[in-house]
Amino acid sequence: MKTARQAGLIACHFCHTLSKLPEEIESKTQYELKAGKAIIHCPCCQSSLHSRIPNSLGRTWALLLAALILYIPANALPIMTVIYWGEGQPDTILGGVVHLFAQGMWPLALLIFIASVFIPILKLIALFSLLISVHLKVQWRPKDRTVLYRITEFVGRWSMVDIFVIALLVGLVQFGNTASVLPNLGALSFAAVVILTMLAAHSFDPRLIWDAIDDEKSIQDNKSL
């Protein structure tokens, strides 16, 4: 069994058509191929072809660090202010969860806790450890790490639920001084964290997890020959 890269083929990211590397490309340096510079286009869907997502690690790191920085204001600043009879009460993400608990709405509190606290932290840690494991060429449990990546990519969007709730409350609760809801800067920071981690997950290439194993194997095959 061979990978597409070992067989001199490139699979299109979108339509999965396998293309052969033309001769003029084989003569290019291995470095350029590894950097994944798009040299040819997919004959089926015209997408630019690269064996791995170009500069996947660099881009994922940049997006992840940006998300990590914005994670601080997202949690420290209030996300919305509920004004009741002229008195404002700003709430942070955690403050909102605690509030719901105090009001006895614990299923709701649990839902918001999972979507707004648990999933973002899980995503940041998962992407961070995936990046480190690829850098260190770790060969430990590649299948489980791929599953971890898939979970990270799948659940990330659901953190947006709190942002949508704020947007709905802002639109609905507009009764002047009696009761109104205003969004705060924390909400924008949190939305940015969700979007940046989604982009980071998209730019990570799970095939890099397997490259460490495939490269090791081909070195051993060469030795035994």
Binding site: T3, A11, L18, L21, I40, H41, C45, W158, L169, R207
Partner: protein, 217 residues
């Protein structure tokens, strides 16, 4: 792009030999029965789904979805009654209400994820599937489908439905929450969108596009 482009396709007719999108291992897909799924032997990724009639069914779900999307935008999704006043909100008004409180960026994010991306997904999918059915594939079909595939994750209507439920519970204590035909249509819209993403088999669409040669490059 060069003229001998087709010479470097390694597998033309239909995909029987695939590289796993998650681990790059090349595998041969055995002939599958209807509704059978081929998984990667190494990492477990779904490589191929065999589905009969996927294009017709997807077209039906997409058209149903578009009708429901229009209905759920015609009337307010939720209304709130307090101190003798009624406030209404719909998909678009939710995005625009953030504009009124000077949150331009948040407003754009909401507008894109709850209106623009879902609308382009529905319209684009209908357009492409119609083109395939009527054999009118042109140079823009493949790039359009590529665009739809890459923006798929950014339409977040199902998450918005969860947010509506949360808001209803939160507000139910303090005021009267009124909902009507739009919310029912919206729930059905989420159902048809999930059926659409289940029945739409991208491999089927790509195979059709590849076979048609509708665009000479």
């Amino acid at each position: 792009m060069n003229s001998n482009n087709l010479n470097h396709i390694a597998s033309i007719p239909s995909i029987s030999r695939l590289a796993c999108p998650d681990c790059d291992l090349i595998q041969t897909i055995p002939p599958l029965a209807n509704n059978e799924v081929a998984n990667c032997i190494r990492c477990g990724a779904t490589l191929f789904k065999q589905q009969k009639n996927s294009i017709n069914r997807s077209l039906a779900f997409a058209i149903t979805g578009l009708i429901l999307f229009i209905i759920s935008n015609l009337f307010p999704l939720l209304s709130l009654k307090a101190i003798g006043l009624t406030q209404e909100s719909s998909l678009l008004s939710t995005a625009f209400s953030l504009l009124e409180v000077n949150q331009l960026l948040l407003s754009i994010i909401i507008l894109l994820t709850t209106f623009i991306f879902p609308a382009t997904t529905l319209l684009g999918t209908i357009y492409i599937l119609m083109q395939i059915k009527m054999n009118r594939i042109n140079c823009y079909t493949a790039p359009l489908f590529r665009f739809l595939r890459s923006t798929d994750a950014w339409g977040m209507l199902e998450i918005f439905l969860l947010a509506i439920l949360v808001a209803m519970v939160k507000l139910g204590d303090v005021a009267d929450v009124i909902y009507g035909i739009s919310l029912y249509a919206f729930c059905l819209l989420i159902l048809s969108l999930s059926l659409l993403s289940y029945s739409l088999n991208p491999h089927d669409v790509w195979n059709k596009l590849r076979d048609s040669n509708g665009c000479s490059l």
